[in-house]
């Protein structure tokens, strides 16, 4: 390493604030002798001085009040969007859950199937839908029965705990969503 290369490193150390006293002396002595390093040093200091002293625009007098106002409006908006999103997700989960539970009980419980399909027919007043669903389920059940008792038993044994687990997960999720919703509502309403 030449002396100038060493001095270059020392210059960086100086700007880093990690220069040792002995190194500072080396630098001071060298820049009095070497014109290239003296110029480099001068411009290094000058550029940093100018960077620090750069005139920055002053904020307008309303900057703070306007920013606070805009931030609180944005927060309200964020809370509202979260509420809408959580409502949308909860509804979607409820619909999917209802569909899963209804399909499951329609396949395995003939009594439930009869009741659910009757409710559907009464509510929609659409006999074609009732007939179509009834037929589709009958085909599915007979296909299952065709596979033999063991197959039905296996499907039942697998699906029952899976459905039970799903319901438990759903309840836990609902509790979490409710807690989060209550917390965020409290946050948005708690104003001085």
């Amino acid at each position: 390493m030449t002396k100038c290369e060493y001095i270059q490193k020392i210059m960086q150390k100086l700007t880093d604030g990690t220069i040792a006293d002995a190194e500072r002396t080396d630098l001071e002595q060298h820049v009095t002798l070497c014109r290239t390093c003296a110029t480099e040093f001068k411009f290094l200091q000058l550029s940093l001085d100018l960077l620090i002293s750069m005139p920055v625009p002053e904020p307008c007098p309303e900057f703070t009040s306007e920013t606070v106002k805009r931030a609180f409006v944005a927060k309200k908006d964020q809370v509202r969007r979260r509420k809408v999103m959580s409502l949308y997700l909860s509804s979607l989960t409820a619909i999917i859950s209802a569909l899963i539970i209804a399909s499951w009980s329609m396949i395995f419980q003939p009594v439930t199937r009869g009741i659910l399909l009757s409710i559907l027919r009464t509510l929609s007043g659409w006999t074609a839908l009732y007939n179509g669903l009834n037929k589709a389920i009958s085909v599915l059940v007979s296909a299952l029965a065709h596979l033999g008792d063991t197959a039905v038993k296996v499907v039942w044994e697998v699906s029952s705990p899976a459905l039970f687990g799903y319901l438990i997960a759903l309840i836990i999720m609902a509790i979490f969503i409710t807690i989060a919703g209550v917390k965020s509502s409290a946050l948005s309403l708690k104003r001085r």
Binding site: Q12, T15, D16, T39, E40, F43, L44, L46, S47, L48, L50, L51, I52, S53, M54, P55, V56, P57, P59, C60, P61, F63, T64, S65, E66, T67, V68, R70, A71, F72, A74, K75, Q78, L187, S188, K190, R191, R192
Partner: protein, 203 residues
């Protein structure tokens, strides 16, 4: 000066983490005054950072940064200092703004009025020296705008904001060695650009 005096009145010790933590908690609970006090504490720094990073619209961009900061307050640990968290948001926002900008704005002193302002701020009375300083300042502003963002941001954080290397590393999510190397590189570019400007224009 009046605004600064008001700031000082609002909180006893602005740099104290416990005071800041109290402000954060109050702001999070919807206290407008507390959030206003946080803005007053950091607005000059944030505007200065944005101005050096982007050059124009520093005030609008700073406002957006403070709004983002407020929206992100719920995930901020109030026992920690505000500055690194705020500067992380500021850095990310400035990078986003620069990505969207097709033409990079150079923070030149645009008119005589601003040059005049610079002269008023300078304590030296010699007009020739002042004019030369204004020119040099322009050269540095121009040089800064041409430094790649990845060097520019840590350079400003370290030299202007005085943020320690460890914190810059956390803000930029980079190893400390990389941060040091980038600051070094940025400094070198700035120095070289200023040197070539002076040499080209005659000292």
């Amino acid at each position: 000066m009046l605004a600064e005096e008001q700031d000082k009145m609002e909180i006893q010790n602005p740099e104290s983490i416990s005071d800041q933590s109290d402000l954060i908690k109050r702001a999070r609970d919807g206290d407008e005054d507390a959030f206003g006090a946080i803005i007053n504490l950091y607005r000059h720094r944030v505007i200065g950072y944005c101005y050096r990073m982007i050059g124009s619209d520093a005030e609008d961009i700073s406002q957006e940064i403070f709004i983002k900061f407020y929206l992100a307050l719920y995930r901020f640990d109030s026992s920690k200092p505000i500055k690194p968290f705020l500067f992380r948001i500021a850095h990310n926002h400035c990078v986003d703004v620069l990505k969207k900008k097709t033409i990079r704005t150079i923070p030149f002193l645009k008119n005589d009025e601003e040059k005049q302002e610079l002269q008023v701020k300078d304590e030296r009375p010699n007009p020739e020296e002042l004019a030369q300083k204004a020119e040099l300042q322009n050269a540095v502003n121009h040089a800064l705008a041409t430094i790649p963002v990845l060097y520019r941001s840590p350079l400003i954080m370290w030299h202007v904001e005085g943020i320690p290397y460890e914190e810059i590393a956390k803000i930029l999510e980079l190893p400390m060695g990389t941060v040091k190397a980038r600051i070094h590189r940025g400094r070198k570019i700035l120095q070289q650009k200023l040197m070539s400007f002076v040499l080209l224009n005659g000292e």
